[in-house]
């Protein structure tokens, strides 16, 4: 894939997306904002899963940490949004570095279980710390500044932020760091022999992924005007993981399509069936068994490097 082409295409896409408010449909603007936020969330997780090979079942914890930090900075302390959002990212970065420090010491299933456990711990704290988070009554009336108060202005702001954030993640994924992550995922021992500090690289990846999930959470808290402990619950982590798999693990743009597809599918089927979980399960099973490379794979994208294909052999990157 030509990197220049990708960038040009994305720029065109962003311009196109900036026109959504012209449709005059508030419904569409809300829907598009929700999709944008989850695109960022899924892309951040993909850095961890697709590039780092680390399957986190607790990524929603960072979404929630960023969301609560942003809401608290904005509302409780009256910090302007252009400082609150970066502030929330800093808080999330610190906490993801601390949590990541413990998690990257472990591999495979233990990593998955520990991330799940940390995610549940964050949920428990959000639930219990009523004075700060509002507990299960949620953090209400997030102070969204005047200039972001209309759905359209907030949508355009989100578009800008998400576009910038995705660009940064793209650069990270295609940097020497990103290539090292893939080398580690492919063969950790070999990467270690080559003098790579695998733990450190994984920790940095974990922190970056967490930070951008936090940014997505920050946007979400302003989008919804309220935030509840549920946003850290492990099913939320699982849902964003499904977005990544549905879109295509390891393909940079796949998870974005996965987020888009999953949200639209949910909305389209909402009035048709009350069995969304079962439908989601069937979609997931079909994807896992028949389209292991997700939607991106359908369009000829290569299997993710290091992921074993159907024959049980690792594909060469």
């Amino acid at each position: 894939m030509k990197a220049n082409m990708q960038i040009a295409l994305l720029a065109a896409l962003c311009l196109g997306l900036a026109l959504v408010p012209l449709s005059g449909s508030t419904y569409l603007v809300y829907l598009a904002t929700q999709i944008l936020i989850f695109i960022l969330f899924a892309t951040s997780l993909n850095l961890l899963v697709g590039y780092g090979g680390l399957i986190s079942f607790g990524h929603a914890a960072f979404f929630a940490i960023g969301g609560y930090s942003n809401a608290i900075l904005l509302t409780t302390y009256g910090v302007p949004v252009l400082l609150a959002l970066p502030g929330a990212m800093v808080v999330t970065a610190i906490l993801s570095a601390i949590i990541g420090f413990f998690c990257v010491r472990l591999t495979a299933y233990y990593f998955s279980m520990l991330t799940l456990a940390f995610g549940q711990l964050v949920w428990a704290v959000a639930f219990k710390w009523r004075a700060v988070t509002g507990g299960d009554d949620g953090f209400l009336r997030v102070a969204v500044p005047e200039w972001l108060a209309t759905p359209s202005s907030f949508y355009l702001f989100s578009l800008l932020v998400v576009a910038l954030a995705v660009a940064v993640l793209w650069v990270v994924a295609h940097s020497p760091l990103g290539r090292t992550m893939m080398a580690i995922r492919e063969n950790e021992t070999r990467a270690g022999f080559l003098g790579v500090n695998t733990r450190l690289v994984q920790l940095i990846t974990f922190t970056i992924a967490g930070t951008f999930a936090g940014l997505a959470g920050g946007l979400f808290s302003m989008f919804n005007r309220s935030l509840f402990p549920n946003s850290a619950w492990w099913l939320q982590s699982a849902e964003v993981l499904i977005m990544v798999v549905l879109g295509g693990i390891g393909s940079f743009f796949g998870p974005m399509v996965g987020a888009l597809a999953l949200i639209l599918l949910n909305r389209l089927t909402l009035q048709l069936t009350e069995y969304w979980p079962a439908l989601l399960a069937i979609i997931l099973i079909v994807t896992l068994f028949f389209f292991p490379n997700g939607i991106a794979g359908l369009f000829g994208s290569r299997p993710a490097p290091g992921l074993r294909d159907e024959r049980g052999e690792k594909s060469d990157a």
Partner: protein, 292 residues
């Protein structure tokens, strides 16, 4: 005050938890699959028992029929899942197995909803175990004492199964070295099928036994699976002893936490788990190579 009752509460909770966690741990030990759906199996077992009791009643020992039916149904369900679906994923990256079992969680949840709606349901105590028993030092509910006995019997039974039978040796061998197993001429796919079905049966029986002590409701699958994860993380994945000790620890820690630091009981359990993981990432009784 932390008295005999609180200790027994912790003990019976821990021993019931062991029954579920043991299945999860054994499945992982042999198949190397972390089965998210184990909580779903447990929940389904409870609902199957409810349905049987609703149809045939629970007098004259009929409750035990319900428990056995729940175990059989779940063994069949698990066997079907292993034979026709999970088997195809063994050679794939672990994320496919994880997400497949997660999909089963969603599916089982909806199956329960379709058949039994989302209203909380209740199964009475079997008549022979109603009321409380005087133990001399305290009075304690019969059914919970019975659950303690079941937990201990199951632990001893599983231990004997593993140590004294051919099947047990095969399963232990599979846990330690899967390649060796097939070179010894063992029908490996059959072993996997049997272990997954056996784990399913254990989960189903646990769910059925839990039904009178608890209430049946959507969401009990997520609740138990998170607790089981904590147990096997602390005890060590794939280790029966680990599941046993881990479950007892969690049971006591809950009772102690509720007595002394009620506000932060839930956080306490997570903290214990994190501490174990930091110092012994493979768990108290796990094998070091299992995680890396």
């Amino acid at each position: 005050m932390f008295g005999a009752i609180q200790f027994l509460n912790g003990l019976s909770h821990g021993l019931s938890l062991f029954l579920v966690a043991a299945g999860l741990s054994i499945i992982f030990g042999v198949l190397r699959v972390l089965n998210f759906a184990h909580g779903g199996f447990y929940m389904l077992g409870g609902y199957v028992a409810y349905e049987v009791v609703r149809r045939i009643g629970m007098e004259h020992g009929l409750f035990w029929v319900a428990v056995i039916v729940a175990g059989l149904v779940l063994a069949l369900v698990a066997a079907g899942i292993e034979r026709f679906m999970l088997r195809q994923l063994y050679n794939r990256d672990q994320i496919y197995q994880l997400l497949f079992t997660f999909a089963l969680v969603l599916l089982i949840g909806d199956v329960v909803r379709i058949f039994w709606s989302t209203t909380a349901l209740s199964v009475s105590f079997p008549p022979e175990l109603r009321g409380a028993q005087n133990l001399g030092f305290t009075i304690y509910p019969r059914y919970r004492l019975f659950l303690c006995v079941v937990g201990v019997v199951a632990a001893v039974g599983l231990w004997l199964l593993f140590q004294r039978t051919r099947w047990g040796r095969i399963i232990r061998a599979a846990t330690q070295d899967r390649e060796m197993l097939s070179s010894l001429g063992v029908n490996v796919p059959m072993v996997y099928l049997a272990v997954f079905a056996g784990g399913g049966a254990l989960a189903g029986i646990s769910g059925a036994l839990a039904a009178p002590a608890l209430a049946l409701r959507g969401g009990m699958d997520a609740e138990i699976i998170v607790e089981c994860f904590i147990v096997v993380i602390i005890g060590g994945l794939g280790s029966l002893w680990g599941a046993f000790i881990g479950a007892l620890l969690i049971g006591q820690l809950r009772a102690i936490g509720i007595t002394f630091v009620p506000e932060w009981e839930i956080v306490l359990i997570y903290l214990l788990m994190i501490v174990v993981l930091v110092f012994r990432p493979w768990g108290l009784f796990g094998k070091k190579q299992a995680g890396s």
